[in-house]
Symmetry: C2
Subunit: 312 residues, 2 copies
């Protein structure tokens, strides 16, 4: 009965839910659902629940908690190539949170909303004796039929990521900057076949893209952009910086598969001021491998990634 992993539970849910439905273009299984909107745009919906002791520590600054609660959903909308629009907020607060903490958390969320053009339009407030809960659901819009899914990666595509990865637990994970402008610039340039945001770790999240697309990939370790925080963590714990970069998660960067001829200009120019790295290539063979460098020896990718039930 117990002991199923997070991804097993998600799979069970996906299997139990009927396909299709009125106005459903893409249901469970991508960063956002894609729903019929109007003649010009489709509607996106995503939900994320943050828990004290899981996604932030009890001593986290309430402004950061509020920022993060919305930012992680905005990152999901960005990963579809969309623009975020309307958010609703459900919280469960202990009595000690009902004053200044609630005000400051809301301030952080509204700072993030203002920065990314989101309106907070509703919510639900509850008390709890347990861990603080902050659940945000966000809608967005994307040009009709243009949502970038996980399932479109093609053999030969370049695998790219924005920014730098790893070690976000040193603090960055509480103040992510969703890559909305970067995704918009990327999509405007065309030939983007698949995209995901890096929440569980590049190794895990790229794995989701490969699974959804029915392809494999090789990733070149020496091309993966390693954040200084990953190096600092590696100094402390003896794991390699590249392991942190591939497996830590909560980077909220974009990972995407793009026509290979676009990669050089993306690497040269970045996207909306953010660097882009070309870290691998999509393969027809459904193998997922890590190489030290292009042409180096191949070893199976350790998907790692955060399983909320197994490690939580």
């Amino acid at each position: 009965m117990s002991g199923r992993g997070e991804f097993d539970v998600i799979r069970a849910i996906r299997d139990a839910v009927p396909m299709g439905g009125d106005g459903v273009i893409v249901g469970i299984g991508d960063d956002c659902a894609v729903l019929s909107g109007d003649d010009a745009e489709d509607l996106l919906v995503t939900t994320d629940l943050l828990l004290e002791n899981r996604h932030f520590r009890p001593d986290a600054a309430p402004r950061d908690v509020g920022w993060k609660a919305l930012a992680v959903s905005i990152s999901d909308v960005a990963a579809m190539g969309g623009r975020p629009l309307h958010a609703v907020l459900s919280v469960a607060l202990r009595a000690e949170h009902s004053g200044l903490f609630a005000d400051e958390m809301l301030r952080g969320l509204l700072d993030c909303a203002a920065r990314f053009g989101v309106s907070l339009v509703g919510g639900d407030t509850n008390s709890t004796d347990g861990p603080l809960v902050v659940c945000v659901t966000l809608t967005g819009r994307v040009a009709r039929g243009k949502a970038v899914l996980r399932s479109g990666a093609r053999p030969g595509d370049a695998v790219c990521v924005t920014g730098a990865l790893g070690g976000s637990l040193r603090g960055r994970h509480l103040r992510p900057t969703p890559r909305v402008a970067e995704a918009a610039a990327l999509v405007a340039g065309g030939d983007v076949h698949a995209m995901i945001d890096v929440s569980d770790g590049l190794a895990s999240d790229l794995g989701h893209v490969l699974d959804a697309s029915g392809v494999g990939a090789e990733v070149w370790a020496d091309r993966v952009p390693v954040h200084a925080d990953a190096v600092a963590l590696a100094d402390d714990d003896g794991r390699g910086p590249i392991d942190h970069a591939l497996q830590d998660g909560e980077d909220f960067e974009l990972c995407f598969a793009v026509a290979p001829e676009r990669a050089p200009s993306l690497v040269a120019s970045g996207l909306a001021g953010t660097p882009v790295a070309h870290v691998g290539t999509v393969t027809q063979a459904r193998e997922y491998v890590l190489l030290d460098c292009v042409g180096g020896p191949r070893r199976p990718m350790n998907r790692g990634g955060y399983d909320h039930f197994r490690r939580g």
Copy 2:
């Protein structure tokens, strides 16, 4: 710092959130937000968070938990006169819930979804060591400009409710039947000026309508439909059945203000098979009073209602 009541927190949130915003027709403060949809229909969004030990007991049947988690949001869409459409589900489960409990809870939610034409399109799964959390966000559609708000009640309107009220904690609260068909029939007949669903108790929820509309009301105790569960609870605890009917909450019936000339036919015919009672009248004077019967002595209404911080 601490000790603010739930409605104080909600008020603080409402005060802090900027008005308006791109595509926002009605923001925080009604049963649903109303957002720009397409040429024919506006979009509705509502979110509700259920917590173990607050909204259901640890020994509640998981199918009931799943049903209730969606039904309470469908009830919010009904209270706007809308039809429910797409839901997302965020959960925090303890390890012991990751097997059969999760499957059964999902089954209950999907039963409710199938009954009311809702598609589950996304979610977020987390583990917790604390109380189980189930958060549903639901979208709906309503004919453009036709959402029934809390703010439209007019002096002279008849105050009506569907079904019977009180004592839902005896079990009904876990298996509410959202009044979607009733609301659709009501709206189709015209002249509905304000509506809310009864979640906190008729006294509290009608109070929200009066506050939003800037009016008062008198309610006739002898016309309030008292559920058999309210009578049974009153037998146990010595409070009056009418107090249970007015203040228990979690009935998920509709309370609405309608042109007075419609009231007799509503009472005679009901709505979609559900009885309708005419329980009071909206007044210009901003007093909220309870009378034993039409023309009886007037006393201030005890709003009661469930405050999650004060009583929880």
